[in-house]
Symmetry: C2
Subunit: 140 residues, 2 copies
């Protein structure tokens, strides 16, 4: 895999974004730095980065695929309303869960696993008075 300006920018941008962007969201972002970069190039590179294990291609609920540069095991919230994905900090349960899953996977000849929780993100949730928006430790 050669080094190119585009490829470097794509991976860097994907890493800098916490949003699990779709290919075209990423493309829009990249246009700021590389006004010539094409959507096709973004797709091609994401595919290669995924193949090289530098990014994950996530199926999700929505129409478009989403990409994540964080390849360590972690869970996502999939919002059925807006289709976006969010990282879920599971706290203590996290370790327990991933220990269990990491044990199970090889037993059935699987390389990895994905866990997705379905529920509206804060933006799409009807306002709840007793759950302040920015409360620390809340799950997105």
């Amino acid at each position: 895999m050669n080094q190119t300006v585009q490829r470097r920018a794509i991976l860097a941008k994907l890493r800098s974004l916490r949003s699990h962007p779709t290919a075209d969201e990423l493309h829009v972002e990249l246009l700021e730095q590389l006004p010539q970069i094409s959507l096709g190039t973004v797709y091609r590179n994401l595919e290669q980065l995924a193949a090289a294990g530098l990014a994950l291609r996530l199926g999700g609920t929505g129409r478009q695929k989403r990409y994540d540069a964080d390849t360590a095991p972690h869970c996502h919230r999939a919002c059925p309303a807006c289709g976006r994905l969010f990282d879920l900090p599971l706290g203590e349960a996290h370790a327990e869960l991933h220990r269990l899953l990491g044990e199970l996977a090889p037993k059935m000849q699987c390389e990895s696993y994905r866990v997705e929780f379905l529920g509206r993100c804060r933006d799409c949730r009807p306002e709840t008075r007793d759950v302040p928006k920015k409360k620390e430790g809340s799950y997105e």
Copy 2:
């Protein structure tokens, strides 16, 4: 939601298939009984059945969405080679895993969750001499 011949047939067929079919796989199957049924009708009904909680629409690895009439919590194997989905019988670990996940979900305001293990299915796995094809209890 009205009763129609098509809707009944779609749900019945989806339930009878163990394969988590795509919309068009299901359509092909249905053509045997209902030679006139259209792919659009299959899509529209699957969408409604999913909305009604009678079926799950699964993202998966591949291009197409897959549908599952088994709405009880269970894990899938997603084969990266052929794109198919398979139920995974997790045995004892199953209970433990779902207890944990079922506990976690409400804590972060999620209605449900999905677990997907990534690994080649038997058809796509290079032949392994010491793992007979039809061995009972093997994980697809």
